[in-house]
Symmetry: C2
Amino acid sequence: MQYFARPISRLIGQLTRLPGIGPKTAQRLAFHILAGSQSAARDLAESILEARDKIKYCSRCCNLTEDDPCPICRDSRRDGELLCVVENPQDIVAMEKTGEFFGFYHVLHGSISPIDGIGPEELKIKELLERLKNSGVKEVIVATDPNVEGEATALYLARILKPLDYMVTRIAHGLPIGGDLEYADEVTLGKSLQGRKEI
Amino acid sequence: MQYFARPISRLIGQLTRLPGIGPKTAQRLAFHILAGSQSAARDLAESILEARDKIKYCSRCCNLTEDDPCPICRDSRRDGELLCVVENPQDIVAMEKTGEFFGFYHVLHGSISPIDGIGPEELKIKELLERLKNSGVKEVIVATDPNVEGEATALYLARILKPLDYMVTRIAHGLPIGGDLEYADEVTLGKSLQGRKEI
């Protein structure tokens, strides 16, 4: 039996396609939208269309941006010798929030994952090599995620960038600040031991 | 600092207004939408607009519907002597799924909650009294939620409907099927004791 009117079913179906939204959550969201004002629904729909229409890749760093090049690539106060490679646009936000990095970025839009059929060609690595030419970049900091795919991507980048005489570094792995030694997993603790520093 | 391009910020802001969606989830949803195809984004936006435009209240039962009267109110095989009063359109779906109710419904769109400033006038009670006139309804089953507001609403309905010679009943409270006596809260267990039946 069809429990919902067709437009409601359609809306629930569309919402279910979003990540982390199951049928129950989609239903709650749909009824919230229906209970709200017409202008609230229009604002939401328009924001989706506007974002999808106006946002494109920055031609330099492949970050998502409204203007090309993006504000970070246009920022002349940044250090042109440092380039931080990340998997996703969200990672740039995380890096910027640290307030500790003042170089430029390059977004790969994923990581190498043979199991998902994602090889280097699917990532923005060609674009990375292209922009590095005559760029003045000296150090490439690989800030991919600390998991199997991120590590594989980091190793791959090191292998192709080192012969071109770039210094390739990897962000440190270790215990998170505020963490507890007792509850740390052994791989993380092992990494934090390997990466120990004199104080 | 502005970490996201304006259209992305706007989309995240709009998504954060949905229930149960915090800033982090909104960000994940926004980047999912941006990573998807243009047509996927358009489908989502259109389904929101279509649902909000086409869905209205059924003039009889106040359920959300595309056609007026709604399919349930048009169903002539249903028992016209039974009317089930629920808080929300979602509750009708829950009732229908039981396969045990074959009467008609009335949606109050909320429950009496003085703390939130919701009195009987804010609910579809006027509409309920109006439709009951010359309707042939004999029993009004009050299926509001088993919480303070739902109980208050049930009592209020009983008080105004009994003098009009309708039989007013309340759905049973007790232990949920598959539940465990040991872990039941004392109020539920007390209710299930009060509502005991001879077998």
